[in-house]
C-alpha cells in the first residue's frame, strides 16, 4: 500500500468541514483560521504530487484501489495523470485562496460558510481523482449542494440568489441524471465501472442507437457544466449572485468539471462518435466563443461581464478539444497537431481558472468598497487605486491573451492545433479573440480606470465607514492575488513545467483512442 496521497488530498477538507461544523458558535476567528489551515494540506500535497509526477510522464499514478461495493463491482479507485493534476492543484489553490479571502469578507453565518466551502472542495477534488464511474458520480453530486447553499445564503439580495441557486442546481441535476442513465447503460455492456478499462471494451458497441443516446446524454451533462451555448444560461445568474469566493470557485473549478469529464470520459469512451459529431460540437464551441464575447460586451454589470467572458473562454477549450477529436488519425504530423490542440485545451482550463478566478477576486475588491458593480458609475480609478489598477490590468491582459501572460499560450496552442485540423473553425474562432480584447479594454479598463474621476460620484458609492482597510488594495487582497499573478506570469513566459505533464498524457491519450 502506497502513501494514500490522493485520499488525503480529497478527504482532509472533509475532516475540516466536520471540525468547523462541530465548533461551538461564536468562535468565528478560530473557525476561519481552522478552515484555512484545513485546506492547506491538500494544496501542499497536490504540489508534491504534481512535482513527483512530472518526472515520469504518461498514465495514471498514485493510484489507489479498495473494494467498495463488490456486488455492484464498484470500487474506490483513485488516480491522477497529467490532465487531472493541474486541475487538482487549481482546486486546492483556489479553495485555499477563497477561504483566506473570505475570512476577511464573510460576516454572516460564518460557521456554515466555511464548513460548506470545505465540503465543496471534497466534491470537486473527488471528481478529478476518481477513476470509477460510480465514485465519479457520487463526487459530482457531493459538490452540488454546498455550492447551491453558498449561492442561496450568501448571495447579494438584489441578485435574486435563491432563484439563481435553484437554477444552478436544476440545470446541473438535469444533466447529471441523464449522465447516470448513460453510465448504467455503459455498465450493462462492459461489466465494469472502471473508467480506464471501459474504452478498450467498446461501451455499447452492439447497440449504435443507444450509444448515440448515451453520448449525447453525457455530452449534455458536461456541456451544461462547461458551460457551452445553449446550456449556459444558469451561469450568469449563478456567478452574479454568488459571493466573491463562490464565483471564484464556480468559474475557476466547477466549470472545469465539465471540461475534465469531456476529456476523461466522453472522448475515450466514444472516440468514433465524438469524431462523427465533432463538426456539430465545433459549432457549439464557436457560438460559445463569439456569442459569449458579444454578450459580454453588452453587459454593464462587471460580474456578469466576466461571467459571460467565461462562456467565451471555455469555448476556446471546446474548440481545442474538438480539434483533437475531429480525426482519429494517429500518425504524425496530425497526431502532433491534435496533441497540441488538446494541450491547449487543458492548459486553457488551468489558465481560465487562474485568470478568471483572479478577475472575480478583483470584482470583489471593488464591490466590497462600493457595493456596486455598475460599470457606469466608476471611472478614473487608476489615480485613486494605482495598485488595484496594476493588478487588474495584468489580469485583464492575461485574459485577453497578451503574449507573455498565461492566456496567450493556451489560446495559441488551441489555434495552432485547430488550424491544422479544422481550419475553417479556427479562422472563425479568431474573431472571439478580437472581441475579447474589445470588451476587456473598453468595458473594464476604460470604464473603470480611465477617464475622469468624479469625486461626487465616488463619494456616493464609497462607503468609508464600512470598509476598515485601505482604499487601494489591502494586504489580504494582495496576498490572495499574488499566487495567481505568479502563475499568469510563469505560464506566460515558461510554460514547460506545466505543459510537460499535460503533453505526455494528452499524447498518450490521443494515440490510444
Amino acid at each position: 500500500m502506497n502513501f494514500p496521497i490522493l485520499t488525503l488530498i480529497t478527504f482532509i477538507p472533509l475532516l475540516g468541514s466536520v471540525v468547523v461544523a462541530l465548533m461551538p458558535g461564536g468562535r468565528e476567528r478560530e473557525m476561519k483560521l481552522l478552515a484555512v489551515l484545513f485546506s492547506v494540506p491538500s494544496l501542499v500535497l497536490s504540489i508534491i504530487a504534481w512535482v513527483a509526477y512530472a518526472g515520469t510522464p504518461g498514465g495514471m499514478q498514485f493510484t489507489e484501489e479498495a473494494a467498495w461495493i463488490p456486488t455492484l463491482n464498484a470500487a474506490y479507485r483513485l488516480g491522477v495523470d497529467g490532465i487531472s493534476l493541474p486541475l487538482v492543484f487549481l482546486t486546492a489553490l483556489l479553495t485555499t485562496l477563497s477561504l483566506f479571502y473570505s475570512s476577511y469578507t464573510i460576516k454572516k453565518r460564518v460557521k456554515e460558510f466555511f464548513a460548506l466551502f470545505l465540503l465543496l472542495e471534497v466534491g470537486m477534488m473527488g471528481v478529478f481523482v476518481a477513476l470509477d464511474l460510480v465514485l465519479f458520480y457520487v463526487f459530482w453530486e457531493v459538490g452540488l449542494v454546498p455550492m447551491f447553499l453558498l449561492i442561496g445564503i450568501w448571495g447579494q439580495p438584489q441578485d435574486r440568489p435563491q432563484y439563481s441557486a435553484i437554477k444552478f442546481f436544476l440545470y446541473t441535476l438535469v444533466g447529471s441524471v441523464a449522465m447516470l442513465l448513460a453510465f448504467i447503460a455503459i455498465y450493462m455492456t462492459t461489466g465494469t465501472w472502471n473508467m480506464l478499462e471501459i474504452p478498450a471494451l467498446g461501451p455499447l458497441a452492439n447497440s449504435p442507437g443507444l450509444a448515440v443516446a448515451a453520448f449525447w446524454a453525457i455530452f449534455i451533462a458536461f456541456a451544461i457544466k462547461v458551460p457551452s451555448w445553449p446550456f449556459h444560461t444558469w451561469l450568469p445568474d449563478a456567478h452574479t449572485a454568488a459571493p466573491t469566493a463562490g464565483s471564484v470557485v464556480l468559474a475557476g473549478v466547477l466549470l472545469k468539471l465539465g471540461g475534465y469529464g469531456m476529456i476523461r470520459i466522453l472522448l475515450p469512451f466514444f472516440p468514433d462518435l465524438f469524431r462523427q459529431f465533432a463538426p456539430w460540437i465545433g459549432v457549439l464551441a464557436l457560438v460559445s466563443m463569439i456569442y459569449g464575447a458579444l454578450v459580454s460586451m453588452a453587459q454593464w454589470d462587471l460580474k456578469r461581464l466576466i461571467a459571460y467572458s467565461s462562456v467565451s473562454h471555455m469555448g476556446f477549450f471546446m474548440l481545442g478539444l474538438v480539434a483533437a477529436a475531429a480525426t482519429l488519425d494517429a500518425s504524425n504530423p496530425v497526431l502532433t497537431s491534435r496533441a497540441i490542440a488538446l494541450n491547449g485545451a487543458v492548459l486553457q482550463m488551468f489558465n481560465h481558472g487562474i485568470i478568471t478566478g483572479g478577475l472575480f477576486f478583483l470584482v470583489g475588491v471593488i464591490y466590497e468598497r462600493t457595493h456596486t458593480r455598475d460599470l457606469k458609475v466608476f471611472g478614473g480609478l487608476s489615480a485613486k487605486m494605482p495598485v488595484y489598477y496594476g493588478v487588474m490590468l495584468m489580469t485583464a491582459l492575461a485574459s485577453l491573451g497578451l503574449p507573455g501572460l498565461a492566456g496567450f499560450i493556451s489560446e495559441f496552442l488551441v489555434f495552432r492545433g485547430a488550424f491544422a485540423i479544422i481550419p475553417i473553425y479556427a479562422i472563425i474562432g479568431v474573431l472571439a479573440i478580437v472581441l475579447g480584447a474589445a470588451y476587456i479594454l473598453w468595458k473594464i479598463i476604460q470604464n473603470v480606470f480611465l477617464g475622469e474621476f468624479s469625486e461626487e460620484r465616488w463619494g456616493k458609492i464609497y462607503d468609508e465607514h464600512h470598509w476598515p482597510f485601505s482604499l487601494d488594495m489591502a494586504r489580504f487582497e494582495l496576498i490572495t492575488l499574488a499566487p495567481l499573478l505568479f502563475f499568469m506570469l510563469l505560464v506566460g513566459v515558461y510554460p514547460a513545467p506545466v505543459l510537460n505533464a499535460i503533453n505526455a498524457t494528452a499524447t498518450a491519450l490521443l494515440a490510444g483512442l
Binding site: 461495493i69 463488490p70 449542494v145 440568489p161 435553484i166 436544476l170
Partner: protein, 505 residues
Amino acid sequence: MTLNQFVVLLLPELVLTLAALVVLGLEIVWRDADGRKRVLPLVALVGVLATLLVTVLIWPLASGGGLPISLAPGQDFGGDQTPMLALDGLSLFFKALAALVLALVLLSSTEYVRARTPFRGEFYALILFAGLAITLAAAATNLLMIYLAIEFLSLTSYLLTGYLRDDEKSTEGAVKYFVYGATASAIMVYGFSLLYGATGTIDLAGIATALTTGSAAVHWLVYPALIMALVGLGFKITLVPFHQWAPDAYEGAPTPVTAFLSVGSKAAGFAVLMRFLLTALPGFQVDWMGVLAGIAIVTMTLGNLVALWQRNVKRLLAYSSIAQAGYILIGLVALAPQAQSWTTGLNGVLLYLLAYLFTNLGAFAVVIAVENRTGSAELDAFAGLVRRNPFLAVMMLIFLLSLIGIPPTGGFLGKLFVFGAAIQRQMLVLAVVGIVNSVISVYYYYAIIRQMFFGEAREPGCFDEGPGLRVAVGVSATLVLLMSLAAEPFIRLATESVSMLAASF
C-alpha cells in the same frame, strides 16, 4: 410440525402480540397514573426490539426454500394441504422492516402523543398491532390470509388516522380512508374469489400450478381478478388512481401515524404484491407487467406534479410518497430474476423500500419535532430552521436529498437499482420518465430546503428536539448515509431476501 416448531417459527409475531397486550394491560392498570404512562412507549420499544432480535435469530431457519408455517395441514380452508404463512427470506425481511418502522415511529411519537391525547396506551398498542399486520401480510401465502392481514392492517390504520377525535381534519381523513379502504378491500376480495373459482384453490403456489396444468378455458377470469387485486393492493401502496385518500388521511392523521402509513402500509402492500404476482401469476407476467408499467408512469408523474403546489409539509410528503411508490414499482415491472446481474429488479424494490423507510421516517421525525415546537406543519413553520436547530435542518437536508436520489444517500442506491433494472430490460421509457420525475421532484423538496436555509425564522431562539426524536433522526440519517457509503451488506440482504421468490419464478 410440532407445537414447539410452530411457536419458534411464529416467534416474532408472538413477541409483538405480547408486547401490544402488555402495553394495553399497563394502560388499564395505570389508568390514573399519568406519570407512569411515560414508560409505555419504552415498553413498546422494548417489545419491538425483542421482535427484531428474534427475527434475526430465526433468520437461519429460512435458508434454502423457506418453511411453511402450519400446525395442522389438511384442515385448512377448502381441504388444501396448504399452510397460511411461510417463513422465507421475503417474510423475514419485512418482519425486520416492520420492527424498524415501529421502533422509529415509537421514538418519534412520545412527545407528540403526550401533548394531544390522554389515551396513550391504546395508541401504542394499535401501532404495534398495525406492525403485526405487516409481518402477517408479508408472510401470507394464500389468498385468505392475505385478505385477513390486509384488513387487519386497514382497520388499525383507520383507527390510528382518526385518533385525534376532536380534530376535524383527523376525523375527516379517517372517514375518507375508511370509505375508500372498505371499497378497495371489497373489490380485492371479489377478485380473489374469481381466482378461487377459476382454480379451486386459495394457495398462491397452487393457483400457479392450477393455471398451468388446468383447463385454459378459465384463464380469462385471471384478468378481471388481477385488476381487482391491484385495486386493493394499489390502495395500500397509494398507486394512482387508487391514491385519492392518501393526501387527506396523511394530512389529518397524527404525524407519527402519517409516518407509519407512508412507510409501513406501503411496504406491506409491496410485499403482498410481489408474492402474489410472482407466486400465483408468474405465467401472466406480460399482462401485469404492462398494467404496472402504465401505473408506475402515471403514479410517479401525478404524485410529483401535484406535490409542486402543496404548502403543508405533511401533504407535500404524502404526494411525494405517492411518487416514490411509482419509482419502487419500476423495480417490480422490470424484474429479471434469472439475470446473473447486480440488479434483478426485485432486490431494487427491497433496497428502495429500505432506503425509503429510513429516509421518510427520518423526514417525518423532523416534521414532528417542528410541529411539537411550532404547532404547525405548514412550509413556513420550517423557516430559518438552520438557525433554530441546525442538527434537524442538516438531517432534513440529507433526507430530502435521499428522496431526490442524490448520492451519497440510500435513495440514490434505490434509484440506481430500479432504474438499472429498467435499463437492463431495455425499458428506457420507464427509466427516462423516472429520471425526469426525479428532477421535477427537486422543486418541491427545494421548497422545504429554501425555508430551512434561506428563510428568516419567525420566532427567535433555538429549541431542543428531545431525546427520542434525536435518536430517531440520528439513526435514520446514519443509515441513509451508510446505505450509500457502505452499501454492500444492504445489497446482499435485499438480494438474498428475494432470491427464493426469484428462484420459484
